[in-house]
């Protein structure tokens, strides 16, 4: 479950990014797609992730999204030559379940996975990292 605090912080950071090009008034919510609705560049995403890492004191290394989508599935079943298999695509779509299904093309290259992320997906990524950092107390 996403903590509202994480989502709110991510939304504020995205608003900061948009303000660099005078787009302060643009709507940003959990289901906003970074590349689709906000025309993010890969450098905008990288900058956002750096700031998220700093703020929450977590690490989101390259390939995190790929790893989360793959889960326990063997790499050879998940993708071939960096292109997701049908099973790999299904796992990605399950992970990014707030992204409209029709936005996923038939052929998905591993380098393009962040393009399908919503703001909410980034917040969930933060939550997953925070949960991994803090062991559950019973």
């Amino acid at each position: 479950m996403t903590e509202p605090a994480a989502l709110n912080v991510v939304v504020d950071m995205i608003r900061d990014t948009l303000s660099l090009s005078g787009r302060e008034g643009e709507k940003v919510s959990s289901d906003t797609l970074l590349f689709y609705h906000l025309a993010f560049t890969s450098m905008d995403l990288l900058d956002l992730l750096f700031r998220v890492e700093q703020h929450f004191d977590i690490a989101i290394p390259d390939g995190t999204l790929y790893g989360l989508a793959r889960g326990e599935m063997p790499d050879a079943e998940f993708a071939t030559d960096s292109v997701l298999s049908a099973a790999g695509k299904a796992r990605l779509m399950a992970l990014l379940n707030d992204t409209p299904a029709e936005l996923f093309p038939e052929r998905i290259h591993a380098a393009s996975l962040p393009r399908f992320c919503t703001v909410g997906a980034i917040a969930r990524l933060v939550d997953a990292r925070l949960a991994a950092r803090e062991p559950c107390s019973s």
Binding site: L20, T41, S42, M43, L46, D47, P105, E106, A111, R115
Partner: protein, 152 residues
């Protein structure tokens, strides 16, 4: 937003593109790089190279294979940073397609400030399908390329 390219002219038949990016000294994204000595980070220089190579690869894919695909930087195959790029700077970008197939392209990019080359790189661009539902993104891309092409 990180959009610093001002001009980009693509010759898909020749497999080449030439563009210019205006990089200010006070861009918030690299405010701490470094205080008092603004220097363009290498990663940003590579992003500029990819922003020039990407549209070139898309145009070449359309011309040679009749496919409208989007270019995504898949790998930096080689990057040699020859000089620091002090800011503000106008960075001239020259890109050429070295290898082309419908799924993957390799582009060589040279970035220069004045007469000094600051970067030589080879970028592998994955050419990805663009579903019709992404039409608003394609429209934005066409608008941006038209703006970059018409700027003087």
């Amino acid at each position: 937003m990180f959009e610093l390219i001002r001009t980009l002219r693509i010759d898909a038949h020749a497999g080449g593109a030439v563009g210019e990016a205006a990089v200010p000294a006070d861009h918030p994204m690299f405010a701490d790089h470094f205080p008092g000595v603004p220097l363009l980070p290498g990663s940003f220089l590579l992003e500029l190279a990819a922003q020039a190579a990407g549209p070139l690869c898309e145009e070449v894919t359309a011309l040679r294979f009749g496919l409208e695909r989007g270019a995504v930087l898949a790998m930096v195959r080689r990057a040699v940073f020859l000089r620091p790029c002090f800011l503000p700077a106008t960075v001239r970008l020259t890109a050429h397609v070295r290898h082309a197939d419908s799924a993957r392209m390799i582009a060589a990019v040279v970035a220069a400030v004045g007469d000094a080359i600051v970067l030589r790189a080879e970028l592998v661009m994955a050419m990805i399908d663009v579903p019709p539902e992404w039409s608003r993104v394609l429209e934005g891309r066409h608008e941006r390329l038209a703006r970059w092409n018409s700027a003087t």
